[in-house]
């Protein structure tokens, strides 16, 4: 909980641990300067709740957890400069938000091994 106070935090790597509980969305909410967040290979559950404002995150890797439900529709607007995202091996489901197509700086997107469904027609045109 001390992480609340690190206003200038840019990189946080807690990967390959046994952390559990809900996905710590407050990390993004409270650390507005955070650019890199690595939480892969833990046991986080819950949903990927996005901050309520436009966030400068560049690199988000949360693969191999148990984070689920649908991606929020405005993800492309909240993370406009995200360029690496890895959500693989989680429990995400439902359709992809169309705002994903707006993430101009995206270089690598790995959504494999989830339960995403639906069509992709409008996303990448």
């Amino acid at each position: 909980m001390e992480l609340f106070l690190l206003f200038y935090l840019q990189l946080l790597d807690l990967s390959h641990n046994k952390l559990s509980g809900n996905f710590p969305s407050w990390l993004l909410e409270n650390n507005t300067k955070l650019e890199t967040l690595y939480l892969m290979n833990n046991s986080f559950t819950g949903t990927l709740e996005l901050p309520s404002f436009k966030h400068g995150l560049l690199d988000l890797q949360i693969s191999n957890n148990k984070i689920g439900s649908q991606l929020q529709e405005n993800i492309g607007k909240i993370f406009p400069i995200l360029n690496y995202v890895n959500l693989s091996k989680n429990s995400f489901e439902g359709i992809l938000p169309s705002s994903i197509g707006e993430m101009q700086t995206m270089r690598t997107m790995d959504l494999s091994d989830n339960n995403f469904s639906g069509e992709l027609c409008s996303h990448f045109h």
Binding site: R107, M109, D113, L120
Partner: protein
Amino acid sequence: MRLLKLSHNSFHGHVPLLSKLARLRWLYLNNNSFSGEIEDGVSNKSYLNSLDISNNMIPRWIGSFTELSVLSLSKNQLQGDIPNELCNLFSLNYLDLSENNLSGILPYCFDNFKYMKFLYLQKNAFQGNIPHALSQLTQLASLDLRDNNFFGNIPQWINRLSKLRVLLLAGNKLTGPIPIYVCELEHVKIMDLSHNWINETIPSCINNISFRMVEYESTAIGSAAVEYDDDSKDKIQYYENTAIAFIFRMDFVPGNTFHIFYNSSLSLNHPSVDRYMISYETIDVEFRTKSYYLSYKGNNLNLMTGLDLSSNNLSGSIPPEIGELREIIALNLSCNRLSGSIPGTFSNLINIESLDLSYNNLSGAIPQNLTDLYSLAIFNVSYNKFSGTIPTTMQFANFDENNYRGNSDLCGSVINIICNHTSIFPPASTTQHQTVVDMESFYWSCAASYVSVIIGLAIILWVNSHWCRAWFHYVDLCIFYCFKRCFKNVFH
């Protein structure tokens, strides 16, 4: 975007392609439920380096990805001929069209694929001769044409594929002999020509083929996602810390600089490393050993060697030169018309685990020195004309009677048939049992002959009255003289 991986989800509908993503180079859509055609937008993606849409949908054309090096369309419902446009992909080094319903003859333009290393066309309905165009694919390491309708001879130009390591032509309608040119494929380690109509003899030059295990040979493909990517940040992201040390260690293995990043042993030793192409596009090869097909990949493939010539019309004797294939692990010559005996050289096959010679016309004894083959786990000589004693020591203690069925002249404790005295080592424990059997049959035959003499006599007497009277007269005389002598002795 450079890399988009949506594999193993439940996306459906048309493939979204992808006009915004002009710089896309790696696209993975496999194991979803996409259907329909690839939209035109994709045709601008000439930078695309790897495209995996296997297990998915029905793509009609592919031809404009001229930089594509990997194309996997396996396990779809693809029908019809291969379009000539495919040949525009002259950079391909991995093409997998297996397990579709493709038919027709292979396009002549297949000779475009100068860089092709892995060609998988198995389990389709291709027909025609094995096309001459394939003779130009001189980089081929792995050729799988199994379970199609190819006919004609095994081509003589096969020797031009001098880098071939895996040659799988099983399950076609190939005829004619095994050409001696096959023997020039000295690097081949797995060869499956089974289930064809190949005839004549097994060429004795077959020992020119190495059937040798290899260590540290990369069987993986995917071309160089990292080597060509100038962005060092991506490089680190693709390969997490655990892998990097290993990757660089691999670098020092001589002759193994190409594609080292995807070395298959990586995926075996570091199952936790699951980054894009490392464990992803490793080659696997199906081969039958120990009577079922297994899929070999990675280091297991490196260590597997085998020759399967079963279910053909091969005749003549087994060339003793096969005994020189010291590293072979599986040898299957079953279901042919081979004659002669098992060459004594077979005792040199010190790595062999599976030896199947069943359903042939082989004769002679099972060489006792085969007991030197310590690795042997499967040994089947059933339905031949073997004779003599079955070895029972060492590995041979494990093989039950099913492996010897249909050989009327074999003997030994395994099949409960006693060897006669000419055998070299008569089993001592059963000698007593042997005499009991003989006496029993002796008693029975005595009784039978006694009964038949009585019956014959009665019939003769009944048929011929003259003999009958003479016989009883004689009997009367005998009784009379007997009584007379008896009375004489008693009353004298």
